[in-house]
């Protein structure tokens, strides 16, 4: 009973945070800010859903697969974000007008 409450609660919280992540993708201005929303919400959002599945299923086949999913999400999500933002910066995609400082571009200009 308690297990079900906690499990379903985590799944609902996860869905809510995934929703906020998608909302961030729509509302934030440029690619870097959108990546911020996408990477962060996926950890607690999707991670929360998977943790809820683990708590509902317990220590069996499904549960272990959910735990593995969490581990791989935590490893791959920041790496993908790094790759995308790095590639975007290299192909000169402009930062938003609100941007105050870009020390990465300054350093790269000095190199060339």
């Amino acid at each position: 009973m308690i297990r079900e409450i906690i499990g379903y609660g985590l799944i609902y919280i996860g869905i809510a945070f995934d929703f906020f992540g998608v909302l961030g993708l729509v509302r934030l201005p440029d690619i870097y800010n959108r990546l911020q929303a996408a990477t962060k919400s996926v950890t607690f959002g999707t991670g929360g859903i998977l943790l809820g599945i683990f708590i509902l299923q317990g220590f069996n086949n499904f549960g272990f697969k959910a735990i593995l999913g969490i581990i791989f999400i935590f490893l791959t999500s920041p790496t993908a974000a790094h790759a995308i933002s790095h590639a975007a910066h290299r192909s000169n995609i402009k930062l938003d007008e609100k941007t105050v400082v870009d020390q990465y571009a300054e350093d790269n200009e000095n190199k060339e």
């Binding site: 929303a37 990477t39 950890t43 400082v101 350093d107």
Partner: protein, 168 residues
């Protein structure tokens, strides 16, 4: 045992564990196949995992790893609430920019973990690492100052001390 073989042993047991988690262990066939695959993986790619001798004892490092996981989970919850707050706010109060921070970590594995942790903590995203100069370029959603020292204190130091104990 040499460092390479120790690394291969670690990879062997890790991949065996992943295999057992992925499959229902119903008969001997799966155990044998998993062992063969794990041996193959550890022979081909086993020597990458552990490359240097560590300063501290294994139990001390496991303790700090647990501390790191607790701190990391807390930071992730904070990050998610922060993003949720930003996107539901009617004006979207952001002040973005890319800043540079310095790190004291030297090992590549430690710097990778630090970069990934920074990406998952509130308002920051690692764009690039410069391993030679020990610098990280961070995209901040809310920039407070343009000085390298201030940003290093704000962003990097949250995890640096713990990672220092685990990896160096």
């Amino acid at each position: 045992m040499s460092l390479k073989n120790r690394s291969r042993m670690a990879v062997f047991f890790l991949s065996l564990l992943v295999w057992f988690m992925l499959t229902d262990i119903t008969d001997l066939q799966e155990v044998i196949l998993g062992t063969i695959v794990a041996i193959f993986v550890s022979l081909v790619a086993g020597h990458f995992l552990i490359t240097t001798e560590k300063r501290h004892h294994i139990f001390r490092r496991i303790g700090y790893s647990l501390l790191y996981i607790v701190k990391f989970t807390w930071e992730i919850i904070k990050a998610n609430v922060h993003v949720a707050y930003l996107v539901v706010h009617p004006k979207v109060p952001i002040n973005p920019g890319i800043v540079k921070i310095k790190t004291k970590l030297t090992k590549e594995s430690a710097m990778t973990i630090l970069a990934n942790s920074i990406t998952l903590t509130p308002g920051t995203l690692t764009v690039d690492i410069n391993p030679e100069k020990q610098e990280l370029y961070i995209h901040c959603i809310d920039v407070h100052s343009k000085k390298i020292e201030d940003n290093t204190k704000d962003i990097g130091n949250r995890f640096e001390k713990i990672l220092m104990e685990i990896f160096e």
